[in-house]
Symmetry: C2
Protein backbone atom coordinates (compact mmCIF):
# COMPACT_ATOMS: atom_id res chain seq x y z
CA UNK A 1 0.00 0.00 0.00
CA UNK A 2 1.23 3.47 -0.85
CA UNK A 3 2.30 5.71 1.97
CA UNK A 4 1.54 9.37 2.33
CA UNK A 5 3.67 11.51 4.59
CA UNK A 6 2.08 14.61 6.06
CA UNK A 7 3.75 17.30 8.12
CA UNK A 8 1.51 19.84 9.76
CA UNK A 9 -0.04 21.10 12.94
CA UNK A 10 -1.60 18.86 15.55
CA UNK A 11 -3.78 21.06 17.69
CA UNK A 12 -6.58 21.70 20.12
CA UNK A 13 -9.07 24.24 18.84
CA UNK A 14 -11.78 26.32 20.43
CA UNK A 15 -14.40 27.26 17.88
CA UNK A 16 -17.47 29.51 18.08
CA UNK A 17 -20.10 29.61 15.34
CA UNK A 18 -23.56 31.19 15.13
CA UNK A 19 -24.90 27.74 16.10
CA UNK A 20 -22.67 26.82 19.03
CA UNK A 21 -19.28 26.52 20.63
CA UNK A 22 -16.76 23.72 21.08
CA UNK A 23 -13.78 23.98 23.42
CA UNK A 24 -10.42 22.29 23.14
CA UNK A 25 -11.47 19.90 20.43
CA UNK A 26 -9.06 17.97 18.28
CA UNK A 27 -7.81 19.95 15.29
CA UNK A 28 -4.76 20.86 13.25
CA UNK A 29 -4.00 20.29 9.58
CA UNK A 30 -2.20 16.98 10.14
CA UNK A 31 -5.22 15.49 11.93
CA UNK A 32 -7.78 16.53 9.31
CA UNK A 33 -5.48 15.41 6.52
CA UNK A 34 -4.69 12.04 8.12
CA UNK A 35 -8.30 11.18 8.89
CA UNK A 36 -9.27 11.91 5.28
CA UNK A 37 -6.23 10.35 3.56
CA UNK A 38 -6.39 7.20 5.70
CA UNK A 39 -9.70 6.36 4.04
CA UNK A 40 -7.52 5.54 1.01
CA UNK A 41 -3.95 4.74 2.10
CA UNK A 42 -1.49 4.46 4.99
CA UNK A 43 -0.43 7.80 6.41
CA UNK A 44 2.78 8.82 8.16
CA UNK A 45 2.43 11.81 10.44
CA UNK A 46 5.19 14.26 11.29
CA UNK A 47 4.28 16.78 13.99
CA UNK A 48 4.55 17.74 17.62
CA UNK A 49 2.23 17.58 20.63
CA UNK A 50 2.53 18.66 24.25
CA UNK A 51 2.11 16.74 27.47
CA UNK A 52 -1.60 17.59 27.54
CA UNK A 53 -2.31 15.62 24.36
CA UNK A 54 -5.06 13.11 25.10
CA UNK A 55 -4.31 9.40 24.56
CA UNK A 56 -7.71 8.90 22.87
CA UNK A 57 -6.71 11.43 20.21
CA UNK A 58 -3.67 9.32 19.38
CA UNK A 59 -5.82 6.18 19.31
CA UNK A 60 -8.17 7.81 16.82
CA UNK A 61 -5.37 7.87 14.25
CA UNK A 62 -3.88 4.54 15.27
CA UNK A 63 -7.22 2.87 14.60
CA UNK A 64 -6.87 4.11 11.04
CA UNK A 65 -3.40 2.56 10.74
CA UNK A 66 -1.80 6.01 10.79
CA UNK A 67 1.90 5.73 11.69
CA UNK A 68 2.60 8.17 14.52
CA UNK A 69 6.31 7.47 14.97
CA UNK A 70 7.06 10.93 13.54
CA UNK A 71 4.86 12.63 16.10
CA UNK A 72 7.13 14.12 18.77
CA UNK A 73 5.83 14.55 22.30
CA UNK A 74 7.63 17.33 24.17
CA UNK A 75 7.31 19.29 27.41
CA UNK A 76 4.68 22.03 27.30
CA UNK A 77 1.19 22.49 25.87
CA UNK A 78 -0.17 21.45 22.49
CA UNK A 79 -0.70 24.13 19.82
CA UNK A 80 -4.01 25.91 20.43
CA UNK A 81 -6.12 27.90 17.96
CA UNK A 82 -9.24 29.80 18.89
CA UNK A 83 -11.49 31.09 16.12
CA UNK A 84 -15.01 32.12 15.41
CA UNK A 85 -17.41 32.33 12.47
CA UNK A 86 -20.13 34.91 12.20
CA UNK A 87 -22.92 35.16 9.59
CA UNK A 88 -20.41 34.42 6.82
CA UNK A 89 -19.27 30.84 7.38
CA UNK A 90 -16.68 31.22 4.61
CA UNK A 91 -14.44 33.34 6.82
CA UNK A 92 -12.75 32.30 10.06
CA UNK A 93 -11.84 35.08 12.45
CA UNK A 94 -8.83 34.17 14.57
CA UNK A 95 -9.39 35.05 18.21
CA UNK A 96 -6.10 33.69 19.54
CA UNK A 97 -3.20 31.51 18.45
CA UNK A 98 -1.01 29.84 21.11
CA UNK A 99 1.92 28.23 19.34
CA UNK A 100 3.09 26.46 22.53
CA UNK A 101 5.19 23.38 21.60
CA UNK A 102 4.82 24.26 17.91
CA UNK A 103 7.10 27.27 18.39
CA UNK A 104 10.28 25.21 18.51
CA UNK A 105 9.09 22.44 16.22
CA UNK A 106 11.92 20.91 14.25
CA UNK A 107 10.55 18.15 12.07
CA UNK A 108 12.76 15.08 12.06
CA UNK A 109 11.74 12.07 10.00
CA UNK A 110 12.05 8.51 11.28
CA UNK A 111 14.17 6.45 8.86
CA UNK A 112 11.22 4.48 7.49
CA UNK A 113 9.34 7.74 6.66
CA UNK A 114 12.06 8.92 4.27
CA UNK A 115 10.93 6.71 1.41
CA UNK A 116 7.28 7.90 1.50
CA UNK A 117 6.26 8.22 -2.16
CA UNK A 118 3.59 10.86 -1.49
CA UNK A 119 4.31 13.94 0.60
CA UNK A 120 2.01 16.71 1.78
CA UNK A 121 3.53 19.76 3.42
CA UNK A 122 0.56 21.31 5.21
CA UNK A 123 0.40 24.97 6.06
CA UNK A 124 3.49 25.54 8.26
CA UNK A 125 6.58 27.75 8.04
CA UNK A 126 8.02 27.25 4.52
CA UNK A 127 11.46 26.77 6.07
CA UNK A 128 10.13 23.77 7.97
CA UNK A 129 8.44 22.53 4.80
CA UNK A 130 11.85 22.61 3.07
CA UNK A 131 13.50 20.86 6.00
CA UNK A 132 11.04 17.98 5.64
CA UNK A 133 11.41 17.85 1.89
CA UNK A 134 15.20 17.62 2.17
CA UNK A 135 14.86 14.48 4.26
CA UNK A 136 12.69 12.67 1.70
CA UNK A 137 14.31 10.33 -0.83
CA UNK A 138 12.94 10.64 -4.38
CA UNK A 139 9.22 11.15 -3.71
CA UNK A 140 6.71 10.40 -6.44
CA UNK A 141 4.50 13.43 -5.78
CA UNK A 142 4.90 16.36 -3.40
CA UNK A 143 2.14 18.84 -2.50
CA UNK A 144 1.99 21.83 -0.21
CA UNK A 145 -0.38 24.37 1.28
CA UNK A 146 0.42 27.83 2.62
CA UNK A 147 -1.29 30.87 4.05
CA UNK A 148 -1.26 34.67 4.09
CA UNK A 149 1.03 34.82 7.09
CA UNK A 150 3.90 33.06 5.23
CA UNK A 151 3.12 34.80 1.94
CA UNK A 152 3.79 38.11 3.70
CA UNK A 153 6.49 37.17 6.19
CA UNK A 154 8.60 34.62 4.27
CA UNK A 155 8.02 35.20 0.55
CA UNK A 156 11.48 33.96 -0.51
CA UNK A 157 11.32 30.73 1.47
CA UNK A 158 7.85 30.12 0.09
CA UNK A 159 9.09 30.70 -3.46
CA UNK A 160 11.79 28.11 -2.87
CA UNK A 161 9.17 25.59 -1.71
CA UNK A 162 7.04 26.36 -4.77
CA UNK A 163 9.97 25.61 -7.05
CA UNK A 164 10.36 22.16 -5.47
CA UNK A 165 6.79 20.85 -5.29
CA UNK A 166 4.41 19.25 -7.80
CA UNK A 167 1.07 20.54 -6.52
CA UNK A 168 0.06 23.60 -4.55
CA UNK A 169 -3.30 23.48 -2.78
CA UNK A 170 -4.26 26.92 -1.53
CA UNK A 171 -7.27 29.03 -0.57
CA UNK A 172 -8.68 31.49 -3.07
CA UNK A 173 -7.82 34.59 -1.01
CA UNK A 174 -4.29 33.29 -0.58
CA UNK A 175 -3.89 32.65 -4.31
CA UNK A 176 -4.82 36.30 -4.83
CA UNK A 177 -2.38 37.46 -2.15
CA UNK A 178 0.42 35.31 -3.52
CA UNK A 179 0.09 36.75 -7.04
CA UNK A 180 -1.43 40.18 -6.41
CA UNK A 181 -3.91 39.18 -9.10
CA UNK A 182 -7.62 39.21 -8.29
CA UNK A 183 -8.57 37.16 -11.35
CA UNK A 184 -8.27 33.55 -10.28
CA UNK A 185 -8.02 32.23 -13.85
CA UNK A 186 -4.86 34.29 -14.27
CA UNK A 187 -3.65 33.78 -10.68
CA UNK A 188 -3.43 29.98 -11.03
CA UNK A 189 -1.38 30.40 -14.22
CA UNK A 190 1.01 32.73 -12.42
CA UNK A 191 1.39 30.26 -9.55
CA UNK A 192 2.04 27.42 -12.00
CA UNK A 193 4.81 29.55 -13.49
CA UNK A 194 6.45 29.54 -10.03
CA UNK A 195 6.93 25.76 -10.25
CA UNK A 196 3.99 23.43 -9.51
CA UNK A 197 2.67 21.29 -12.38
CA UNK A 198 -0.77 21.51 -10.81
CA UNK A 199 -2.41 24.30 -8.80
CA UNK A 200 -5.60 23.68 -6.85
CA UNK A 201 -7.47 26.68 -5.47
CA UNK A 202 -9.95 25.82 -2.72
CA UNK A 203 -13.04 28.04 -2.69
CA UNK A 204 -15.12 26.74 0.24
CA UNK A 205 -18.76 26.31 -0.78
CA UNK A 206 -17.81 27.44 -4.31
CA UNK A 207 -15.65 24.36 -4.76
CA UNK A 208 -12.31 24.53 -6.51
CA UNK A 209 -10.34 25.63 -9.55
CA UNK A 210 -7.55 23.36 -10.74
CA UNK A 211 -4.99 24.17 -13.40
CA UNK A 212 -3.21 21.01 -14.52
CA UNK A 213 -0.56 21.43 -17.19
CA UNK A 214 -2.44 24.33 -18.78
CA UNK A 215 -5.92 22.78 -18.49
CA UNK A 216 -8.65 24.03 -16.17
CA UNK A 217 -11.06 21.96 -14.08
CA UNK A 218 -13.64 23.91 -12.09
CA UNK A 219 -16.58 22.69 -10.02
CA UNK A 220 -18.67 23.87 -7.07
CA UNK A 221 -18.73 22.10 -3.71
CA UNK A 222 -21.35 19.51 -2.86
CA UNK A 223 -24.32 21.47 -1.46
CA UNK A 224 -24.44 21.08 2.31
CA UNK A 225 -27.56 22.45 3.95
CA UNK A 226 -26.19 22.45 7.50
CA UNK A 227 -22.68 23.82 7.75
CA UNK A 228 -21.80 23.44 11.43
CA UNK A 229 -18.07 24.25 11.38
CA UNK A 230 -15.98 24.86 8.24
CA UNK A 231 -12.67 24.44 10.13
CA UNK A 232 -10.40 21.86 8.51
CA UNK A 233 -12.29 21.65 5.21
CA UNK A 234 -9.18 22.65 3.25
CA UNK A 235 -6.95 20.08 4.97
CA UNK A 236 -9.62 17.42 4.51
CA UNK A 237 -9.72 18.31 0.81
CA UNK A 238 -5.96 17.81 0.65
CA UNK A 239 -6.33 14.48 2.45
CA UNK A 240 -8.94 13.18 0.03
CA UNK A 241 -6.94 14.55 -2.90
CA UNK A 242 -3.67 12.85 -1.91
CA UNK A 243 -5.51 9.76 -0.71
CA UNK A 244 -7.03 9.24 -4.13
CA UNK A 245 -3.79 9.93 -6.02
CA UNK A 246 -1.76 7.63 -3.78
CA UNK A 247 -3.86 4.68 -4.93
CA UNK A 248 -3.18 5.22 -8.64
CA UNK A 249 -0.25 3.29 -10.14
CA UNK A 250 0.33 6.27 -12.45
CA UNK A 251 -1.20 9.33 -10.76
CA UNK A 252 0.13 11.86 -13.30
CA UNK A 253 -2.87 12.29 -15.57
CA UNK A 254 -5.45 15.05 -15.88
CA UNK A 255 -8.17 12.46 -15.30
CA UNK A 256 -6.70 11.27 -11.99
CA UNK A 257 -6.06 14.83 -10.81
CA UNK A 258 -9.69 15.68 -11.60
CA UNK A 259 -10.92 12.67 -9.64
CA UNK A 260 -8.60 13.69 -6.81
CA UNK A 261 -10.21 17.14 -6.69
CA UNK A 262 -13.68 15.62 -6.59
CA UNK A 263 -12.72 13.16 -3.84
CA UNK A 264 -11.12 15.98 -1.85
CA UNK A 265 -14.17 18.16 -2.27
CA UNK A 266 -16.60 15.39 -1.28
CA UNK A 267 -14.58 14.35 1.77
CA UNK A 268 -14.45 17.99 2.89
CA UNK A 269 -18.23 18.27 2.51
CA UNK A 270 -18.56 15.84 5.42
CA UNK A 271 -16.08 17.69 7.65
CA UNK A 272 -18.14 20.89 7.67
CA UNK A 273 -21.24 19.04 8.89
CA UNK A 274 -19.96 18.76 12.46
CA UNK A 275 -17.48 20.42 14.82
CA UNK A 276 -13.80 19.66 14.38
CA UNK A 277 -12.94 16.19 13.10
CA UNK A 278 -16.17 14.63 14.42
CA UNK A 279 -17.70 13.95 11.01
CA UNK A 280 -14.51 12.26 9.81
CA UNK A 281 -14.45 9.70 12.62
CA UNK A 282 -17.30 7.57 11.29
CA UNK A 283 -16.75 8.42 7.66
CA UNK A 284 -16.09 5.55 5.30
CA UNK A 285 -15.54 4.94 1.66
CA UNK A 286 -19.13 3.91 0.95
CA UNK A 287 -20.50 7.20 2.28
CA UNK A 288 -18.17 9.21 0.05
CA UNK A 289 -19.13 7.11 -2.98
CA UNK A 290 -22.82 7.57 -2.21
CA UNK A 291 -22.37 11.32 -2.08
CA UNK A 292 -20.44 11.19 -5.37
CA UNK A 293 -23.57 9.79 -7.05
CA UNK A 294 -25.64 12.68 -5.69
CA UNK A 295 -22.94 15.18 -6.63
CA UNK A 296 -22.85 14.00 -10.25
CA UNK A 297 -26.58 14.70 -10.50
CA UNK A 298 -26.22 18.20 -9.08
CA UNK A 299 -23.55 19.21 -11.62
CA UNK A 300 -24.90 17.29 -14.61
CA UNK A 301 -25.71 19.65 -17.49
CA UNK A 302 -26.02 16.95 -20.13
CA UNK A 303 -29.12 15.03 -19.00
CA UNK B 1 -41.52 32.87 -32.95
CA UNK B 2 -42.08 33.19 -29.23
CA UNK B 3 -42.08 36.63 -27.74
CA UNK B 4 -40.42 37.65 -24.52
CA UNK B 5 -41.56 40.79 -22.76
CA UNK B 6 -39.09 42.55 -20.51
CA UNK B 7 -39.72 45.51 -18.27
CA UNK B 8 -36.69 47.14 -16.70
CA UNK B 9 -34.34 50.07 -16.65
CA UNK B 10 -32.91 51.66 -19.78
CA UNK B 11 -29.94 53.70 -18.68
CA UNK B 12 -26.69 55.47 -19.23
CA UNK B 13 -23.94 54.30 -16.90
CA UNK B 14 -20.60 55.68 -15.85
CA UNK B 15 -18.32 52.88 -14.70
CA UNK B 16 -14.84 52.89 -13.17
CA UNK B 17 -12.78 49.73 -12.76
CA UNK B 18 -9.14 49.11 -11.82
CA UNK B 19 -8.48 48.90 -15.58
CA UNK B 20 -10.31 51.97 -16.88
CA UNK B 21 -13.34 54.19 -17.00
CA UNK B 22 -16.30 54.53 -19.35
CA UNK B 23 -18.69 57.50 -19.22
CA UNK B 24 -22.35 57.62 -20.18
CA UNK B 25 -22.35 54.24 -21.85
CA UNK B 26 -25.48 52.30 -22.67
CA UNK B 27 -26.77 50.24 -19.74
CA UNK B 28 -29.85 49.24 -17.81
CA UNK B 29 -31.34 45.81 -17.18
CA UNK B 30 -33.72 45.97 -20.16
CA UNK B 31 -30.86 46.61 -22.59
CA UNK B 32 -28.64 43.80 -21.32
CA UNK B 33 -31.60 41.42 -21.19
CA UNK B 34 -32.81 42.31 -24.70
CA UNK B 35 -29.43 42.02 -26.35
CA UNK B 36 -28.98 38.56 -24.83
CA UNK B 37 -32.55 37.26 -25.29
CA UNK B 38 -32.75 38.51 -28.88
CA UNK B 39 -30.05 35.97 -29.80
CA UNK B 40 -32.86 33.43 -29.35
CA UNK B 41 -36.29 35.09 -29.77
CA UNK B 42 -38.19 38.31 -30.42
CA UNK B 43 -38.17 40.68 -27.48
CA UNK B 44 -40.73 43.31 -26.44
CA UNK B 45 -39.28 46.09 -24.31
CA UNK B 46 -41.22 48.12 -21.75
CA UNK B 47 -39.29 51.04 -20.30
CA UNK B 48 -38.70 54.76 -20.34
CA UNK B 49 -35.99 57.03 -21.74
CA UNK B 50 -35.36 60.77 -21.67
CA UNK B 51 -34.82 63.27 -24.44
CA UNK B 52 -31.07 62.68 -24.31
CA UNK B 53 -31.40 59.05 -25.40
CA UNK B 54 -29.22 58.51 -28.44
CA UNK B 55 -30.86 57.31 -31.68
CA UNK B 56 -28.03 54.81 -32.28
CA UNK B 57 -28.88 53.13 -28.98
CA UNK B 58 -32.42 52.54 -30.22
CA UNK B 59 -31.10 51.24 -33.53
CA UNK B 60 -28.90 48.74 -31.71
CA UNK B 61 -32.03 46.97 -30.45
CA UNK B 62 -34.05 47.48 -33.64
CA UNK B 63 -31.33 45.69 -35.60
CA UNK B 64 -32.02 42.70 -33.36
CA UNK B 65 -35.77 42.84 -34.14
CA UNK B 66 -36.51 44.08 -30.63
CA UNK B 67 -39.95 45.73 -30.51
CA UNK B 68 -39.55 49.14 -28.87
CA UNK B 69 -43.19 50.24 -29.02
CA UNK B 70 -43.38 49.89 -25.21
CA UNK B 71 -40.42 52.20 -24.70
CA UNK B 72 -41.77 55.57 -23.63
CA UNK B 73 -39.83 58.73 -24.44
CA UNK B 74 -40.56 61.56 -22.02
CA UNK B 75 -39.24 65.00 -21.12
CA UNK B 76 -36.11 64.94 -18.97
CA UNK B 77 -32.93 62.91 -18.73
CA UNK B 78 -32.47 59.14 -19.01
CA UNK B 79 -31.83 57.15 -15.82
CA UNK B 80 -28.14 57.36 -14.88
CA UNK B 81 -26.09 55.04 -12.69
CA UNK B 82 -22.51 55.62 -11.68
CA UNK B 83 -20.56 52.80 -10.09
CA UNK B 84 -17.07 51.54 -9.53
CA UNK B 85 -15.26 48.27 -8.94
CA UNK B 86 -12.11 47.99 -6.89
CA UNK B 87 -9.84 44.95 -6.42
CA UNK B 88 -12.90 42.72 -5.92
CA UNK B 89 -14.70 42.67 -9.27
CA UNK B 90 -17.61 40.77 -7.70
CA UNK B 91 -18.88 43.85 -5.89
CA UNK B 92 -20.14 47.07 -7.49
CA UNK B 93 -19.95 50.19 -5.35
CA UNK B 94 -22.67 52.67 -6.29
CA UNK B 95 -21.28 56.19 -6.57
CA UNK B 96 -24.50 57.88 -7.65
CA UNK B 97 -27.98 57.00 -8.90
CA UNK B 98 -29.97 59.62 -10.83
CA UNK B 99 -33.47 58.25 -11.36
CA UNK B 100 -34.43 61.12 -13.71
CA UNK B 101 -37.32 60.01 -16.00
CA UNK B 102 -37.42 56.65 -14.21
CA UNK B 103 -38.81 58.35 -11.11
CA UNK B 104 -42.33 58.69 -12.54
CA UNK B 105 -42.21 55.59 -14.72
CA UNK B 106 -45.63 54.02 -15.11
CA UNK B 107 -45.35 50.99 -17.35
CA UNK B 108 -48.16 50.77 -19.89
CA UNK B 109 -48.22 47.89 -22.32
CA UNK B 110 -49.10 48.31 -26.00
CA UNK B 111 -52.04 46.03 -26.91
CA UNK B 112 -49.91 43.59 -28.87
CA UNK B 113 -47.54 43.16 -25.90
CA UNK B 114 -50.25 41.79 -23.64
CA UNK B 115 -50.17 38.32 -25.13
CA UNK B 116 -46.40 37.86 -24.67
CA UNK B 117 -46.00 34.25 -23.52
CA UNK B 118 -42.73 34.87 -21.68
CA UNK B 119 -42.34 37.75 -19.24
CA UNK B 120 -39.30 38.99 -17.36
CA UNK B 121 -39.76 41.60 -14.66
CA UNK B 122 -36.25 42.97 -14.21
CA UNK B 123 -35.12 44.62 -11.00
CA UNK B 124 -37.56 47.53 -10.55
CA UNK B 125 -40.05 48.55 -7.86
CA UNK B 126 -42.16 45.43 -7.10
CA UNK B 127 -45.29 47.58 -7.38
CA UNK B 128 -44.37 48.37 -10.99
CA UNK B 129 -43.59 44.68 -11.56
CA UNK B 130 -47.15 43.86 -10.39
CA UNK B 131 -48.61 46.59 -12.60
CA UNK B 132 -46.97 45.01 -15.65
CA UNK B 133 -48.00 41.51 -14.65
CA UNK B 134 -51.63 42.60 -14.28
CA UNK B 135 -51.67 43.75 -17.91
CA UNK B 136 -50.44 40.41 -19.26
CA UNK B 137 -52.99 37.84 -20.48
CA UNK B 138 -52.22 34.24 -19.45
CA UNK B 139 -48.44 34.15 -19.79
CA UNK B 140 -46.66 30.83 -20.18
CA UNK B 141 -43.75 31.65 -17.90
CA UNK B 142 -43.05 34.67 -15.72
CA UNK B 143 -39.71 35.49 -14.12
CA UNK B 144 -38.46 38.31 -11.95
CA UNK B 145 -35.35 39.77 -10.40
CA UNK B 146 -35.09 42.04 -7.36
CA UNK B 147 -32.51 43.72 -5.17
CA UNK B 148 -31.66 44.65 -1.58
CA UNK B 149 -33.29 48.06 -1.88
CA UNK B 150 -36.76 46.54 -2.53
CA UNK B 151 -36.20 43.66 -0.11
CA UNK B 152 -35.77 46.24 2.63
CA UNK B 153 -38.15 49.00 1.54
CA UNK B 154 -41.08 47.07 0.03
CA UNK B 155 -41.05 43.56 1.50
CA UNK B 156 -44.82 43.06 1.23
CA UNK B 157 -45.06 44.13 -2.40
CA UNK B 158 -42.13 41.89 -3.19
CA UNK B 159 -43.82 38.95 -1.44
CA UNK B 160 -46.88 39.52 -3.59
CA UNK B 161 -44.74 39.42 -6.74
CA UNK B 162 -43.06 36.24 -5.53
CA UNK B 163 -46.44 34.58 -5.09
CA UNK B 164 -47.32 35.34 -8.73
CA UNK B 165 -44.16 34.38 -10.63
CA UNK B 166 -42.70 31.09 -11.85
CA UNK B 167 -38.97 31.83 -11.57
CA UNK B 168 -36.96 34.19 -9.40
CA UNK B 169 -33.46 35.06 -10.60
CA UNK B 170 -31.55 36.82 -7.87
CA UNK B 171 -28.01 37.54 -6.66
CA UNK B 172 -26.52 35.45 -3.89
CA UNK B 173 -26.28 38.30 -1.38
CA UNK B 174 -29.88 39.22 -2.12
CA UNK B 175 -31.06 35.64 -1.61
CA UNK B 176 -29.43 35.81 1.81
CA UNK B 177 -31.04 39.17 2.57
CA UNK B 178 -34.44 37.99 1.42
CA UNK B 179 -34.41 34.94 3.70
CA UNK B 180 -32.07 36.00 6.49
CA UNK B 181 -30.38 32.65 5.88
CA UNK B 182 -26.70 32.57 5.05
CA UNK B 183 -26.80 28.98 3.80
CA UNK B 184 -27.71 29.21 0.14
CA UNK B 185 -28.88 25.59 -0.08
CA UNK B 186 -31.51 26.41 2.54
CA UNK B 187 -32.16 29.94 1.26
CA UNK B 188 -33.30 28.78 -2.19
CA UNK B 189 -35.71 26.33 -0.54
CA UNK B 190 -37.16 29.13 1.57
CA UNK B 191 -37.59 31.34 -1.49
CA UNK B 192 -39.29 28.51 -3.39
CA UNK B 193 -41.73 28.24 -0.47
CA UNK B 194 -42.70 31.88 -1.16
CA UNK B 195 -44.04 30.89 -4.58
CA UNK B 196 -41.64 30.36 -7.50
CA UNK B 197 -41.36 26.86 -8.96
CA UNK B 198 -37.74 27.60 -9.79
CA UNK B 199 -35.19 29.77 -7.99
CA UNK B 200 -31.92 30.73 -9.67
CA UNK B 201 -29.21 32.31 -7.56
CA UNK B 202 -26.55 34.13 -9.57
CA UNK B 203 -23.07 33.98 -8.02
CA UNK B 204 -20.88 35.95 -10.41
CA UNK B 205 -17.68 34.06 -11.20
CA UNK B 206 -18.93 31.22 -8.98
CA UNK B 207 -21.79 30.56 -11.39
CA UNK B 208 -25.24 29.70 -10.14
CA UNK B 209 -27.43 27.54 -7.91
CA UNK B 210 -30.83 26.53 -9.24
CA UNK B 211 -33.56 24.80 -7.28
CA UNK B 212 -36.18 23.41 -9.65
CA UNK B 213 -39.10 21.61 -8.04
CA UNK B 214 -36.90 20.36 -5.20
CA UNK B 215 -33.89 19.45 -7.35
CA UNK B 216 -30.56 21.30 -7.28
CA UNK B 217 -28.37 22.25 -10.24
CA UNK B 218 -25.10 24.00 -9.41
CA UNK B 219 -22.20 24.97 -11.64
CA UNK B 220 -19.41 27.56 -11.73
CA UNK B 221 -19.19 30.31 -14.35
CA UNK B 222 -17.12 29.90 -17.49
CA UNK B 223 -13.57 30.99 -16.54
CA UNK B 224 -12.88 34.43 -17.99
CA UNK B 225 -9.29 35.59 -17.69
CA UNK B 226 -9.96 39.25 -18.44
CA UNK B 227 -12.97 40.62 -16.60
CA UNK B 228 -13.25 44.21 -17.81
CA UNK B 229 -16.65 45.20 -16.40
CA UNK B 230 -19.07 42.87 -14.58
CA UNK B 231 -22.00 45.31 -14.92
CA UNK B 232 -25.03 43.70 -16.53
CA UNK B 233 -23.86 40.11 -16.14
CA UNK B 234 -26.96 39.21 -14.11
CA UNK B 235 -29.38 40.72 -16.62
CA UNK B 236 -27.51 39.06 -19.47
CA UNK B 237 -27.87 35.75 -17.60
CA UNK B 238 -31.62 36.34 -17.39
CA UNK B 239 -31.72 37.18 -21.11
CA UNK B 240 -29.93 33.99 -22.12
CA UNK B 241 -32.05 32.01 -19.65
CA UNK B 242 -35.39 33.28 -20.96
CA UNK B 243 -34.14 33.27 -24.53
CA UNK B 244 -33.39 29.56 -24.33
CA UNK B 245 -36.67 28.68 -22.58
CA UNK B 246 -38.76 30.72 -25.02
CA UNK B 247 -37.62 28.45 -27.86
CA UNK B 248 -38.81 25.25 -26.18
CA UNK B 249 -42.30 24.03 -27.08
CA UNK B 250 -42.59 22.70 -23.52
CA UNK B 251 -40.14 24.66 -21.37
CA UNK B 252 -41.26 23.17 -18.05
CA UNK B 253 -38.69 20.45 -17.53
CA UNK B 254 -35.64 20.20 -15.28
CA UNK B 255 -33.53 19.52 -18.36
CA UNK B 256 -34.63 22.69 -20.15
CA UNK B 257 -34.21 24.80 -17.03
CA UNK B 258 -30.69 23.42 -16.63
CA UNK B 259 -29.86 24.28 -20.23
CA UNK B 260 -31.34 27.72 -19.66
CA UNK B 261 -28.98 28.28 -16.71
CA UNK B 262 -26.00 27.22 -18.77
CA UNK B 263 -26.99 29.45 -21.70
CA UNK B 264 -27.52 32.36 -19.31
CA UNK B 265 -24.18 31.78 -17.67
CA UNK B 266 -22.32 31.51 -20.97
CA UNK B 267 -23.96 34.61 -22.47
CA UNK B 268 -23.05 36.55 -19.32
CA UNK B 269 -19.44 35.40 -19.60
CA UNK B 270 -19.15 37.49 -22.77
CA UNK B 271 -20.71 40.60 -21.20
CA UNK B 272 -18.00 40.90 -18.55
CA UNK B 273 -15.24 40.91 -21.16
CA UNK B 274 -15.90 44.50 -22.21
CA UNK B 275 -17.48 47.68 -20.85
CA UNK B 276 -21.27 47.95 -20.83
CA UNK B 277 -23.11 46.11 -23.60
CA UNK B 278 -20.13 46.24 -25.99
CA UNK B 279 -19.41 42.52 -25.96
CA UNK B 280 -23.08 41.73 -26.67
CA UNK B 281 -23.23 43.78 -29.85
CA UNK B 282 -21.22 41.37 -31.99
CA UNK B 283 -22.20 38.25 -30.10
CA UNK B 284 -23.89 35.50 -32.01
CA UNK B 285 -25.21 32.06 -31.46
CA UNK B 286 -22.14 30.31 -32.88
CA UNK B 287 -19.83 32.03 -30.40
CA UNK B 288 -22.00 30.95 -27.48
CA UNK B 289 -22.09 27.36 -28.78
CA UNK B 290 -18.32 27.36 -29.20
CA UNK B 291 -17.88 28.46 -25.61
CA UNK B 292 -20.34 25.78 -24.48
CA UNK B 293 -17.96 23.13 -25.89
CA UNK B 294 -15.07 24.63 -23.90
CA UNK B 295 -17.25 24.95 -20.80
CA UNK B 296 -18.23 21.28 -20.89
CA UNK B 297 -14.55 20.34 -20.82
CA UNK B 298 -13.84 22.61 -17.84
CA UNK B 299 -16.61 21.06 -15.71
CA UNK B 300 -16.29 17.47 -16.93
CA UNK B 301 -15.49 15.13 -14.03
CA UNK B 302 -16.26 11.92 -15.92
CA UNK B 303 -13.53 11.82 -18.56
Amino acid sequence: MSKILVVGSVAYDTISTPGGRAENILGGSANYFSLAASLFSEVNVVGVVGEDYRPEDLRLLEQRQVDLSGLQKVAGKTFHWEGRYEFDMNEAITVETQLNVFKDFNPTLPEHFKKSPFVFLANIDPELQMRVLEQIESPKLVGADSMNFWIKSKPESLRKVLSKIDVLLINEGEARDLTGNWNIVQAVKEIAAMGPRAVVVKRGEYGFVMLFEGKYFILPAYPVSTVVDPTGAGDTFAGGFFGYLSKQPDPWSFFHFKQACVQGCLTASFTVQDFGVNALIDLNWAKVEERFIEYKKVIDCLN
